[in-house]
């Protein structure tokens, strides 16, 4: 049934709210915060779409999902059809529907925003159809082309690696994914917490790939356990896709960062998500006992939000976010900031740590900070924070989590000198062909771009798959 509501009426329809778990209850457990639309909510929300002649939402999407088409299918009640439309461009809709920064992409470009109204909730709709598809158990296993006899090795099982694997196996190539950790999914399993992205969803996506014929080998650190040359040589691979992510955590470089109770966000989140330390001693890996402690997380991105909300869930008395710019400037998804505030996270904006202070036994007791104000725009166009003289103060805390970004993991590059890297040790790859300086080796995702987003990594994986397929047929 087509949408018969006139456009000027559609614009008046309010954006439907995502049902959520109660803020104070959810802040103490790891259950998913968003509960998802039901068909009724999805239908009402879908009716708000103006079905523009030239949809700007699709242009705003890094992988150009045909939003107008999939929303139209929702209005028709054809949810599986809607999912199929998304899957043409996006292999992981249940994941991106949950973690994409939609407000900067499809939803940010939605025409309704220009009329000062809330955009269509495209992310929530995407999640709805993807979850519907999963619940019916009808996740379509695409047709697999006859075997080509070619073999592709994929290094890293994050969104870039997984999506490349799916596309390449469909084209009839034999695909094996090598992963350093014991679990598959990259940041999706070790970084993003259960309350935002249930691990079961990642596991299901991996299972679909397995059913399609992708092979996985965990506990292999390429560069250490086996080198690229060995994969291309004695192991007989015809091409390699390197998708190892931007795993190396950065620290602040302030005095006292070695104190007990100071973590990188990667370590804190890995202990919780990958190793399930929140269930210690049922699980053996320990993590700092946050119960009734004051916790400070430093940073303003998604990683910082995940860490600070995790600290709350571990029982922290106060969970504070220290960020040197203002709330408007925080790169985190808007929804995460809203959720964090509802749950009781305290935002200490325009604040910059200059020293970690400890007791005699080497345990953190507080963080010396200065207040900041925003000055002239810097080279990146963002206004640079500058310290306010005489504004030094100490925030008492016994746990600090540093979430100020990551850089390139050097393990592969250090054993493949013919793999060209840039100044910051990221791998150089052609943005179109994804080729590196090493023959038969392609690269994409965070290891090329620096930390970016799930959807960009996934898009890079798909592009690489096309390029590798072409290369193998040359």
């Amino acid at each position: 049934m087509p949408n018969t509501i006139p456009n000027k009426e559609r614009i008046k329809l309010p954006r439907q709210h995502m049902p959520e778990r109660d803020a104070l209850t959810r802040a103490r457990n790891f259950e998913e915060v968003n509960l998802g639309f039901d068909p009724a909510l999805a239908n009402v929300e879908a009716l708000r779409c103006l079905a523009c002649a030239k949809p700007s939402c699709t242009r705003g999407c890094p992988v150009q999902v045909d939003v107008k088409q999939f929303v139209a299918r929702i209005i028709e009640g054809d949810y599986l059809g809607a999912a199929a439309v998304i899957r043409r461009d996006n292999a992981l809709p249940a994941i991106t529907g949950r973690v994409c920064p939609q407000e900067e992409q499809c939803e940010g470009d939605c025409l309704i925003v220009k009329s000062k109204k809330d955009s269509v909730a495209i992310g929530h709709l995407e999640r709805f159809v993807a979850d519907y598809e999963r619940a019916t158990g009808k996740v379509g296993i695409p047709e697999i082309a006859p075997p080509t006899g070619k073999r592709v090795a994929i290094v890293g099982s994050g969104p870039a690696g997984l999506s490349a694997a799916g596309d390449l196996v469909q084209k009839g190539h034999a695909v094996r994914v090598f992963e350093a950790l014991h679990e598959l999914g990259g940041v999706l399993v070790y970084g993003i917490p259960e309350f935002r992205l249930p691990k079961e969803i990642v596991r299901q996506e991996v299972d679909v790939l397995r059913k399609m014929g992708v092979e996985f080998e965990t506990n292999v650190v390429v560069g250490k356990t086996v080198t690229l040359d060995e994969l291309l040589g004695e192991e007989g691979y015809d091409a390699i896709f390197v998708a190892t992510g931007a795993g190396l955590p950065q620290f602040l470089g302030v005095p006292g960062e070695h104190l007990n109770g100071v973590y990188s966000a990667n370590e804190f989140l890995t202990r919780i998500n990958l190793m399930r330390a929140y269930r210690f001693p049922e699980y053996d890996q320990p993590v700092y006992d946050c119960r009734d402690k004051d916790v400070v997380v430093i940073g303003g991105g998604n990683t910082a939000m995940d860490a600070v909300r995790t600290a709350l869930r571990l029982g922290a008395r106060r969970a504070m976010l220290v960020y040197r710019r203002g709330e408007e400037e925080m790169p985190a998804r808007r929804e995460e900031i809203k959720h964090a505030k509802e749950e009781g996270v305290e935002l200490c904006m325009l604040t910059n740590p200059i020293e970690m202070i400890g007791d005699q036994r080497g345990w953190l007791t507080g963080i010396r900070c200065v207040k900041m104000e925003l000055g002239e725009p810097g080279a990146d166009g963002r206004r640079r924070p500058v310290a306010v003289p005489g504004s030094e103060h100490v925030i008492e805390a016994s746990l600090a989590v540093v979430a100020v970004g990551t850089s390139a993991n050097p393990l592969i590059q250090s054993t493949a000198p013919d793999l060209k890297t840039n100044r910051k040790n990221y791998i150089e790859a052609d943005p179109e062909t994804m080729r590196t300086s090493k023959k038969g080796v392609f690269a994409g995702g965070d290891i090329v771009t620096g930390s970016a987003t799930v959807i960009l990594a996934m898009g890079a994986g798909r592009k690489a798959a096309r390029a590798i397929d072409q290369y193998l047929r040359e």
């Binding site: 506990n219 356990t225 620290f251 190793m275 210690f280």
Partner: protein
């Protein structure tokens, strides 16, 4: 799964495992380690590789039962298997022809020092080895170390075997001779004491740091140490560092980070396995 094909009890609470891990066996060099996880609920712990046999596709690990995971592992036998083993991680030992070298092993550190001692001997060095233990029964791998040493000295705290005293007592005597290189692997206080002794004489000294690790690939930074005048990640920049640049205070302090939880987990485990 990584099957255990043989085990041997080296001393009280110290057990050796031969484990099938063909990829690791092919690549392992002296000084490198693995990270393993025993089962689904297990933690990831680093263990230095004592040796490997690429033709059999096996690696050898030596484990001292000091906590829950190591005690649980010590209960495993040939026919059992370990869920996850990843490696070889870390930089291999820098083995050169230095001239005359001293290799010092304390406790299970001896098992870790052995492959590097062998490599140093094979590189044409004259190798003096000093092994330290609290008491005779706790001494491990004496014959294997003797076989790769020009001379072996054993020190026990209680004098029940070898000479009575600390490894540094013997070290002080030996450095009266011209010594070109010292490798010390063992408990933190021992490595710190060795570094203090050789510092005055500016003898190049290397230690292997047993910091707390999670992934072992440079991803978490939990293993960070102060060395070479900077913050380093022991899993990718080490585990071996110039002893004279290591801040042992920070190492000891960080290694105590989870002491309370470790004790809790170990106590619970002992209760269940009493």
């Amino acid at each position: 799964m990584f099957p255990i094909i043989a085990t041997a009890q080296l001393g009280p609470g110290v057990k050796q495992f031969e484990i099938t891990a063909p990829r690791i066996a092919r690549k392992q060099l002296a000084g490198q380690f693995v990270i393993l996880r025993l089962d689904e609920n297990g933690e990831r712990i680093p263990l230095t590789i004592k040796g490997s046999d690429p033709s059999r596709g096996t690696i050898t690990l030596v484990v001292q039962a000091v906590g829950k995971t190591t005690a649980q592992m010590s209960g495993l036998e040939a026919g059992d298997a370990i869920l996850d083993v990843v490696g070889p991680l870390g930089k291999p030992s820098e083995v050169e022809r230095y001239g005359t070298v001293i290799v010092i092993g304390g406790g299970v550190g001896t098992a870790i020092a052995l492959p590097t001692a062998t490599a140093l001997r094979d590189a044409g060095n004259r190798v003096f080895s000093i092994l330290g233990a609290r008491t005779k029964d706790l001494l491990i791998l004496e014959n294997e170390v003797r076989a790769v040493s020009d001379q072996l000295f054993v020190m026990t705290d209680d004098g029940s075997y070898g000479h009575q005293g600390l490894v540094t007592d013997k070290l002080r005597q030996l450095i009266q001779l011209p010594i070109d290189f010292v490798l010390a692997i063992g408990p933190v206080p021992m490595m710190r004491a060795v570094a203090d002794v050789t510092r005055e004489r500016k003898i190049k000294t290397v230690v292997s740091l047993n910091s707390i690790m999670v992934d072992g690939t440079g991803m978490c930074g939990g293993c960070r140490v102060h060395a070479d005048g900077d913050t380093k990640f022991a899993c990718i920049d080490g585990p071996e560092f110039d002893a004279h640049t290591v801040d042992f205070q920070v190492l000891a302090q960080r290694n105590a980070m989870y002491r309370a939880q470790e004790q809790e987990a170990f106590a619970k485990w002992k209760e269940q396995h009493a």
